[in-house]
Structures are given as C-alpha cells and as structure tokens.
C-alpha cells in the first residue's frame, strides 16, 4: 500500500504535530514512512508544508500532481499547494465557508474545546471519517496517545472525535 499525503498550514497551527501523528500510525503498523517538514523562519506564521509518504518510497518529497490527499489547515494556502494534489485527489479543508473538497470549521470546534491549535486533530478526524487515509480511527487515536503530552491526551482525543463526527 502506498499513499502520498500533504499537510498545509501556517506556522503555529500544529502542522508538525499532525504530521507526526500520521507518520506514527504508519510506524505502528510496521509500514515504511517518510516525511518532510518546514522548520526555521517560515514557522513564524509563514506558510508551511509537510509531506508524508507511506509505503515503499526513497524520498520524502511529493511531486506535482502526486499527492493522494491534502489536509489544509489554512485555506489561503489552497492556490499555493493545489498543484501538488493528483487528479481525483481529496482535499480536507479547515474552513467556515462552503466550497470545494471536504470542509469542516475545525477552528470553531477547536475554539469551543478551549484551544485553537486543536483544529489540526479535528481535521484529522474528518479525514479518517471520509476514509481518505491509509489508517483507521483506532490507529490514529493510538498515535495521538503516544505523542500528545499526558495532560492534553483527553482533549486531543476529543478534538479528533469531534472531527470524526463531522
């Protein structure tokens, strides 16, 4: 099984954490995984992009038109990263307004949970509910438990669950 995933957002939105959760789910099932991440200056509120390649790959980078699924935390990035998605690829988008792809107002849900950063896991929840990802809800929850700081595990799982409920 092979899958190419991109996660797009701006610095401070938890793109890196979301990337790690998805990659960890692959490690847990013994599948090879490669990611690439944006660090440094761009993390100060600039556009950041992670790529995740599941299965037998050598390079972590995703080429134009090759991503199977895109998780978009910052809608304004859509024109920037649109071209990475393949034809019939799936966008899962954090947005309060209607439009292309599968959308959810993840920011609002996260706000209600008391932490705007949780929109990353809300979005993951929707991706799993749409069966767009290689992994199951249980596998994601397991990875979240492994990676989240202890005192935030419950809250993180709740955000994920809220996303699953759509």
């Amino acid at each position: 099984m092979k899958q190419q995933i991109i996660v797009s957002g701006i610095g401070g939105q938890g793109v890196l954490f979301l990337t790690r959760v998805i990659a960890q789910a692959a490690v847990n099932r013994g599948t090879p995984v490669l990611t690439s991440e944006t660090h440094g200056m761009a993390q100060r509120g600039g556009t950041v992009l992670s790529t995740i390649k599941i299965g037998n790959f050598a390079s972590p980078l995703v080429r134009t038109g090759q991503a199977d699924i895109g998780l978009l935390l910052w809608e304004a990035n859509l024109p920037v990263h649109q071209s990475l998605l393949r034809e019939n690829g799936v966008w899962i988008i954090n947005s309060p307004v209607a439009g292309s792809g599968s959308r959810i107002d993840a920011a609002q849900i996260a706000r209600e949970l008391g932490n705007p950063v949780l929109s990353n896991l809300v979005l993951l929840g929707l991706a799993v509910q749409q069966q767009a990802l290689f992994c199951s809800a249980e596998e994601c929850a397991e990875a979240i438990k492994q990676l989240a700081p202890k005192k935030f595990i419950e809250q993180n799982l709740e955000a994920f669950q809220k996303g699953m409920n759509g």
Partner: protein
Amino acid sequence: MKKQNQLLMGNEAIGQGLIEAGCQVATAYPGTPSTEILQAVIDRQGQAVEPLHVEWSVNEKIAFEVALAASYTGKRSAAVMKQVGLNVAADPFMRTAYIGVKGGMLTIVADDPGPHSSQNEQDTRLFCLQGRVPVIDPCSPAEAKELIQPAFELSEKYELNIVLRPTTRICHSRQNVSVREPIKLNRQADFQRDPTRWAATPAFLPALHRALNDNLEKVALEPDWQPRLTVGNGDYPRTALVASGIAYSNLIDLLAELQLTQAIDLYQVLMPYPLSPDFTRTLHKKYDRLLILEETYPVIELQLAHPGSKGKQNGMVPREGELTPDVMHQVLADFLDLAPPAETPTERRGQRPSLCPGCPHRAAFYSIKKCFPQGIFPSDIGCYTLGMNLGAVNTVHCMGACISQGAGFYQAYHQDEQDCPTIVVTIGDSTFFHAGIPALINAVIQQTRMIIVILDNATTAMTGGQPVPHMGIAAGNKKTKAVAIEPLVKASGVVFIETCDPYDSERFDALLKRADSYIRSPEGGVAVLISRHGCVMDPAVRKTQDSHLVTILDSCIGCEKCTGAFECPALYMDRENHVAVVDQDRCIGCGTCIPVCPVNAIVRETKP
C-alpha cells in the same frame, strides 16, 4: 543487541547515531537546519553508557575547537553546525586537515539548498574539496545514522577529521529508523604530547601536507566508501546516472514513477570528496553519457571531468536552488529524451512569516522606525530579521555583521561632513555573544557614533529556544555561571548603557531620543540600549506577563497602521467594513498595539 524501530527526524537519527557510536564530547551552535542534532544528543544523554559532555558553544569556531581537543585525547567527538557556521569555524577547520585528529572526530555540517532558512546555499562538499577533508553525503535519515559509526572508524584509521553533510531534506525528514544500544569504548583521556604535530610550525607543515595527500589517496580507495552501482537492464547502453545525497532518493522515486527502475545504470556516490579514482576511470571507460545530480555545486562533476557528462556545468541541471523531484523530472526528460513533464504551474508564494503576536521585537522595531524615520538600520541573523516587515531592518548579512556594518556606514557618511542619518543597529542576545563583542570593541575604538539596540529576549528564539550565556543555564537545563550583557558592554568602553522593556513604548522612545542626542554630543560615541523582554514563545514568559482582552472600537478609521506599519499577525482588516479586527485565536493580549492607533480605537480590558 536490542533493535527497535523508531520514527526519527534526520537530525534525531544523527544525534542517536552519535550516542550509539560512543561519542563523548558533542558541541554545537544552533542554526537551521542543524539545530535538532545536538538537541537529540541532549535528550538521549541518559542512554550514553560512558561520560558524555554536551555543550551549546558560544559560536561554531569554539564548538569545533572544543571537539577537536577532545579528540586529541583519544575520545570520539563531534562538532555540529549549519553550512554558514562552517565559515565561522573555517580557521581551525582548515588547519585540522593537516594536523589531523586522534579519537574519531566528525564535523556535521547541515547544508540548506534552496535556501530555506539561510543567507546562502553554499555547498559544504566544495568547502571540503578546498580544505582537503573527506565528506559523506547521506541520502536519508536512516543512512545518515548508519554511516556515523563507520565514519568514526574511518576518522580513526587515518587520523582525519571527517565531515558528514546532511541537507535540509535529510535533517527535517522523518523515517522509521532502527535504534541500537550504544557501544562501550572504555577510553581514558590520554593526550600524547607531540609539538611537531599539535603545534606544528611551518617547518613541519610540508611533511604533514604530504601525509594528508597520501591519506586522501587511500581514503578515496576505501572499499566501503566506493560509489554503489545498481546495474541497468541495457535499455540505455553506455549511459549512466550519478547522484548523491537526497537527489539520489528523489531519483529513485522518480524512476519508479516513470517505470524506469533498473532501466539504466545508476550510481550513488557516498563520499563526493575524495572521489575514488577507480570510479572515475570506470566511468570514463564504460560510458559515453552521464547525468550528474548533486546539491548544490558541481563537486562530483568537477572531479569526474567526463567529456560526456551533463550537469550543472553544461546547464542541463539548474545551477541554483533545490533539486526537487519536479526539477529532476524535467532534467531526466531532457537527458533521456522522455516525454516532457506536464507544465508545472508557476510557483505561488504563501503567507510570509512575521514576528509572533506580542513579540517584544515588534514593539522595539516600531519605536525605532517611529523615532528615526530616516535612520539607517543594519540588523542581523535571527527572528528579528523579520523586523524587515516593519521597515526597521535595512541590512542582514552574517552573524554579528550588523555592528561592524553600522560602523562602516558611520565612517562613510562622517567623512563627507554631512549630517549623518541616525544609525540604529539591532542585534539579538545570542548573536551578540556569538560574534558581536569584537565588533563592539572595534566600533568603540574607531570612535563610531551610533545606537546599538541589543534585542535581549533571553533565548535563541529562531532555532527553538537554546540557552544563552547570560541566563546561567547550559545544555539540558543544567545550572551554570551567568555572563551578563551590561558589564561586557561597559568593559568594551561604552558609556551610554540603558535597559528598557520595549512594551513600555513611552520610555523606550524617550531613551532612543536620549541616545540620539548622546551620539551627536561632543563626547558622544556608541550608545547601547538593551531591549529586554522574554520571548513570548516561552510559556514561562507568557505566564508572568499580563494578558488583556484587546478589542477594536467602532471608532476605527481603517487607517491600517496596526496591520501595516505595526504588522501584528493577530490583527487583520475587515475589508468590507474598513475596520481592523483582532483575531482572538492568535492575540496574546500584550497591548503593544494600543499606542499605535492614532484615534485610540484599540482598547483593553483586563482578563478575569
């Protein structure tokens, strides 16, 4: 032996590799993309089976020299830096090639093709060719880790410093990596005095240089470090692909996608310098056409000097920027006469980065720009480079350059006897310790008149909060002696020294104006203003600082000063209603935007 699979970032894999290989002294100065390597060593210090000293050194030259002397005692050591850090460490690095090492020594230098977070995209492999230092170019996080133990062995066999050169896409890539128990070397520090070597004067250097050249010839022929060949099926006779580093990995995936796996002879070059003469001979004999893919400069290509080679020299491969899979697709299509790739859409730029909401640097820059609209603003490397967005950063060059550049501006204007614009230099605390102090002394003794604002946020913020010398904390949160900034500035001969929290804009403005009068007075010289407020990324800082509910009243006239000139990312314009809005998800309630508004439309309530 316990073997385990972990998801590790390239930098973590390298850090883990250092621990497993019995490295006993690891030093670094932080810099993207290398920073997490030493952090990974710190995080894993508990796993080390032998004593392990880890330090965030004050700069890369120091990091290199500390690791070097540790190797003289027979222990394994490593110095870690980014590519431009090697420029700072160049002096000891170049001589080390001749003098050599005892215990295995690795210099890990992370390059940044692109560049993503650097002031240039120089290629450490070319630096190594000039310095005559063997260099290893891994193609993945797992390979970077696997090569550390053999690299230490190679270093010990020939008593040479060896460079491991990962690039951003290795450093910041994650992969399942197998993890092992650290080896136990049982080495006691044992420095064998040998002045003809460790203190070699020119008389001894020709012999040392000869020995180096002999060793390099042998290193080039080491069987384990020869280029690796994947034989093709003959579809492309007398043609081969040669790649190294991440370009090799990109190529593997690209060939698979184009269903060309094993259609063509493919070489991975592990050690681009010194390049194996056997390899060069084979290539000249067996192939008429070669495509060479490497980042960032044509290091393999230059050494191969193959008449049929295509690469950066003949222009088939772009000479600048990353060799992304898209770029490589085009190159491969040109080389093999394949169908050209569908046109890649013109790259669009996303959101530009900016100083964080509530960042104390923003308040300082806003005051500086407001007080001296015509000022000249040399600045430096760090988060505060983003002061550019506020128009308060005119030059950024390399670590510490801002102070000397400020002095240079002064000398050039001053000799014209015209009214010199106020020169306001901004430098971060970590950068000040790294390379600012000699420049400050120089500015003072050359009778420069300028204002230096030391942006002291008590951390190395850009790279994720490494400790700085004046905080009294060393690697791994250990307590150490603190070296304060003020006495250092005073001892450098500065008379005007003031400290102020930039959140207090009224006082900050007043001090800037006083500093300006001082530098223009007969007895004036360098004025130093320490802008002191902790980095708001530090949760401890956030806990102690007041937070208000900041909102914008209907009286807002939509002048865009707070979103434009002040540029807090937690403020945006509601274009429909022509008013500014606070994004409560991002606002930290610092209140520094309040004095910016000309009509007092920004207001605060204290949060309960």
